[in-house]
Amino acid sequence: MKYSSLLFANLFRKKVRLMLTIGSFAAALFLFTFLAVVKSAFSRGVEVAGADRLVVINRTSIIQPLPIADRDKILTIPGIKAITHNNWFGGVYQDEKNFFPQFAIDIENQRMVFPEMVVPDDQWKTFLNDRQGAIAGARTAKRFGWKVGDRIPIKTTLFGGPGAWEFNLDGIYHNDRPGGDESQFWLQYKYFDESMPADQKGLIGWYVIRLDNPEDAARVAGAVDAVFANSTYETKTETESAFAASWVKQFGNIEFLILTIGSVVFFTLLLVTGNTMAIAVRERTAELAVLKAVGFSDRAVLFMVLGESILIAAIGGTLGLVFAAAAVPVLANALNGLLPVLVVSPVTLLTGVGFALAVGALSGLIPAFGAMRLRVVDALRRV
């Protein structure tokens, strides 16, 4: 490109200012990427949730139980391939910080409902025959350095009074779906139920139904809720992704928060770079006039100014994205698996680049139009 030398020369005119502007782009894009990664971490559960699964919870709230006897009634509804039930086991491993979800599961049916969570058959067999057995997700096992055969103490204050439960780690599951959850810890429902006081026996946390056909979701969900309408334990049945979405909402409206922060960053950046470009153009009024006198068209001058701000945006934006991509794994480590997998996806990167270029173009627009409309005669008279 013939004009590139001019473009670059203009770019490096004020080095400190250039660095600062590039720096603001880098900082903004870093923040953007970071927020996007956190947001996608929260919504990943929704994205990878099975479309052929329904979650049945107590209509009042997820923390209210359902009777295990409901299972047989649910199974009378046609279109159900399998059903399992889970209980929340709010235990602590060594320290409160070491959070991971623990479920008491229906060992006969869990694997049929969640076929993507794969446990080697021999490990599964050991688990079935081990009252105190447990299965851990690969990520959680790796996080604590657990190996099959380890004995794992989990403290809980919820059930059976204070004290530690001990589990034998009989197996480790992997998730077939990319980005799928590998953090859960499974124990046997029977073992769990035995330890419950009499008035809490025979209760489960929620059911998960696997459908023969995802298209039946609405019908089956309606049928389940109809069966228990007006009973002591009314149910609320929704698809797994709808359930996951409402789960995420418990953390507050993350989407809204991120959108708000993102918008503030966007407008701040727009104002900062817009101002910088305006100053950059104003101080070279005479030069732009000379270019026009020499025969550069109004449009060429417009594109030169616009090109400059887009170039700054591209450089700064790329830097920010690179830093973010490098920082996210470090951050994921520091968060100790509190969030689902943190990854910088190509979509995030592309959105970030697009975001930077858009701000670059927008902020250059007004100064560029000013430069385009500049009249040589007036500009040279002003000097």
């Binding site: 004009y3 006039a289 026009k292 025969g295 068209s297 040589v376 008279r381």
Partner: protein
């Protein structure tokens, strides 16, 4: 030949006919140029003098296609520029006009070579052709060795010579100089004037120059005075210019 009475034969390179230029300021019309006529033949070297605010710069801007007259017409080499669109006029300027300003107006972030190359970027010339032209222009102004210098590394006189190289590099039809020595000391000014004189005599450039400097005016073939919106002929200096050449 240079005429100011509108009696040119029609073969003159530059023909200005009945040009008015008015500005309105605070609701009041100022008539800067009034029914101005001018014919300049090819190869002429004309100097314009006149009191400050008499409209010399205004006239050069009109001749260079940077501004349009309120009334009247300007024809250069057969093209009437007064009715060209802004875009056309820009292209016309690139091909026909070389500007030299009092403040040199070089681009500070480009070196001498790149500054001179600017007008050529608008042409179809290849990179090596551009290099040849730039080097030739810088050689004419005596700064071939300085082509990698930036404006701040050059003296005022050298900067103005680079500006002249930029003005001539695309071989324009005529040069417009607005007080080219106005910001220079006597010695540097004389060097610039020597250069302009050479461009006139050796390269037969058509030059129109506004100046306050009598020594500069002496170099021109023709001296015109701008007063109260019209041009009047000053002393004919053909002999003086011939003597210098």
């Amino acid at each position: 030949m240079v005429r100011v009475d509108g009696s040119g034969s029609g073969g003159a390179l530059i023909q200005v006919r009945g040009v008015d230029k008015n500005y309105s300021r605070a609701g009041e019309e100022i008539h800067v140029l009034q029914s101005l006529n001018l014919d300049v033949d090819k190869g002429e070297f004309v100097a314009f003098m006149g009191p400050s605010g008499s409209g010399k710069t205004t006239l050069l801007n009109l001749l260079g296609g940077l501004d349009v007259p309120t009334h009247g017409s300007i024809t250069v080499d057969g093209d009437e520029i007064t009715h060209m669109s802004a875009g056309k006029l820009t292209q016309w300027r690139a091909r026909h006009v070389g500007f030299i300003f009092q403040m040199y107006n070089l681009i500070p972030v480009l070196n001498a070579f790149q500054n001179v190359e600017l007008p050529l970027l608008l042409t179809k010339l290849s990179k090596s052709e551009r290099r040849q032209h730039v080097e030739a222009a810088l050689t004419i102004v005596g700064l071939a060795e300085r082509m990698n210098h930036y404006p701040r590394q050059l003296s005022g006189g050298q900067e103005q010579r680079v500006a002249i190289a930029r003005a001539i590099v695309a071989d324009p039809t005529f040069l417009l100089c607005d007080e080219p020595t106005g910001d220079l000391d006597r010695k540097s000014a004389d060097e610039i004037l020597d250069l302009l004189t050479r461009l006139s005599t050796e390269y037969h450039k058509t030059i129109l120059m506004v100046t306050h400097d009598p020594a500069a005016a002496e170099r021109a073939h023709t001296l015109l005075h701008l007063n109260k919106g019209v041009l009047v002929e000053g002393a004919h200096l053909d002999q003086v210019a011939g003597g210098v050449a």
